[in-house]
Amino acid sequence: MNSTVVTYLSQSKELTDATAWLSKVLGLDASSLVAFIIFAVACLIVVGLMSTIGGLGTYAERKISADLQMRVGPNRVGPYGILQFLADGVKMILKEDIIPSGADRFTFILAPFLCLVGVFATLAVVPFSSGFILADLNVGIFYLVGMASLVGVGVFLGGYASNSKWSMLGGMRGASQIISYEIPATITIISIVLLAGGLSMGTLIGGQGGMPQEWYLFHNPFAFIGFFVYFIAALAETNRAPFDLPEAESELVSGYHTEYSGMRFGLFALAEYIEVFVVCGVATALFLGGYKVPFDLGTGAILVQKLGLNEMLAKNIGQILELGAFFTKTLALYYVVIWVRWTLPRLRVDQLMTLCWKYLTPIAIFNLLGCAVWMYAFDGRSIFSLIFDATTVVAGHH
């Protein structure tokens, strides 16, 4: 059975008791009902949390860009303007919902939802901590890649349905960019899968440790290059600058969502910001050790030994530490994404395709081969463990 939030919670005695009590009251086996309720609550928490992070992402974007450009940024609504995103949301909901007369109505309405569904479906396998993951599928990362490609369909249909030149060009650019950059990103993911020996998020993170030298980022030189390839490709897949050609303000007004107004535009923006979080989370899980914390604090074993805590309490503390580790790393990458956006100028279309096909894809394939050779030659050991062994041998000589 795959580990999920339910299997984690069912370790606790209270839940087992509650299930037994419910079974007695209802007169049937209530374990699947309880599992369903837990899943529903967990899904609500994840969706709510991610929507808040998406909303705060717009605030962070404006505030950080303001910092980089020596401006003040939003500072009126709430302390430091932090409630600005709520005000924006209210404004968007209250706005008039306009559908252009020449638009393809069915597709026009569907497109933002496709984007949002694609992003929210990927959240099912994002590993927040070892206990708090909605479903640790055997094909986790593969499923994530497949679901994320639904965003490309949404972007394209949004551009097509608007019946506007700007939207059309933006949609075409967006779709072609997303398909192209999926290739280096996926090949890089495969090279990490090669190191871990499995597609599920649990296996991918389980092969790493809490300390930086145990991360796959520093496992070998090829994985180190692979991180940057993946990060660039992820920037392009989420249509972020310097790859924001689909929504280039100066040439395409705002690309595929030019004709969208009100909450339909809001859904596009929300999907984009949540997708940035998801790809940063994937980069964290694949390269930066995911939710792992040093000294095995995550399992809580050390707390039970040293402090004599209750086992479940120690585990819960471990989970909170793991959540903290995951969110710290992911939000740090999120900051880098915003920082890059306000630092680099936008690429041209031909430069974009050249970068993808002539540089990133060959480098990604080279990395894949390099990782395979490394696993074969050094028996799957990381560069730090090799150096450590070599120094102990040398020290033994003297």
Partner: protein, 178 residues
């Protein structure tokens, strides 16, 4: 219980999507319904415990094929009028009553023949609806890289040929100056 619900939902999505594809007047909409149908098929794969196949279905069809179809339809102007320049109704790509009739008869005949052929197999097989949740990825990988390595390599050569062919066709030809 859960598996049955999943199966019914996926089957409804598959069949409903397929019917909507056939009855849709607009090629672009048909393509979107096709996407729904593909998702239904992925759900069916998940029902029988073929997790890798389900994810592949999503990656290949939902991600790649549908976007390429949308591109092709948009660039060739597949949507639009059904009347040709002489004022006659074209036989639409989606078909009309005549094509539906013949296609229906052909489908029934063909399915009867196929059922007759596989009837023996179906009779002996017990139901295989999600017996276990064991991972299939490793087994598929091992089999692909050992027993079926020739088929695997040949299919990659086929893909390479398609790639080179596309590059040759789409490349601007150099004019000869003599």
């Amino acid at each position: 219980m859960f598996t049955n619900t999943l199966f019914l939902l996926s089957a409804a999505l598959t069949v409903g999507g397929a019917i909507a594809v056939v009855y849709s007047q607009n090629l672009m909409h048909a393509c979107i319904y096709l996407l729904a149908s593909f998702f239904g098929v992925a759900g069916l794969y998940a029902c029988i415990g073929a997790d890798f196949l389900a994810a592949t279905q999503l990656v290949v069809y939902a991600g790649g094929v549908v976007i390429l179809m949308l591109f092709a339809i948009m660039l060739t102007g597949g949507t639009g009028n059904n009347i040709n320049r002489y004022g006659l109704e074209k036989i639409a790509a989606m078909g009309n009553k005549k094509t539906y009739f013949f296609a229906g008869i052909t489908a029934i005949l063909a399915s009867l023949v196929v059922l007759k052929i596989i009837a023996n197999v179906l009779k002996d097989q017990p139901s295989t609806l999600l017996t276990s949740n064991e991972p299939t990825v490793e087994r598929i990988g091992t089999i692909l890289a050992t027993d079926h390595i020739l088929a695997f390599e040949i299919s990659s050569v086929l893909l390479l040929g398609a790639l080179i062919g596309a590059a040759v066709i789409s490349r601007p030809r150099k004019e000869r100056h003599d």
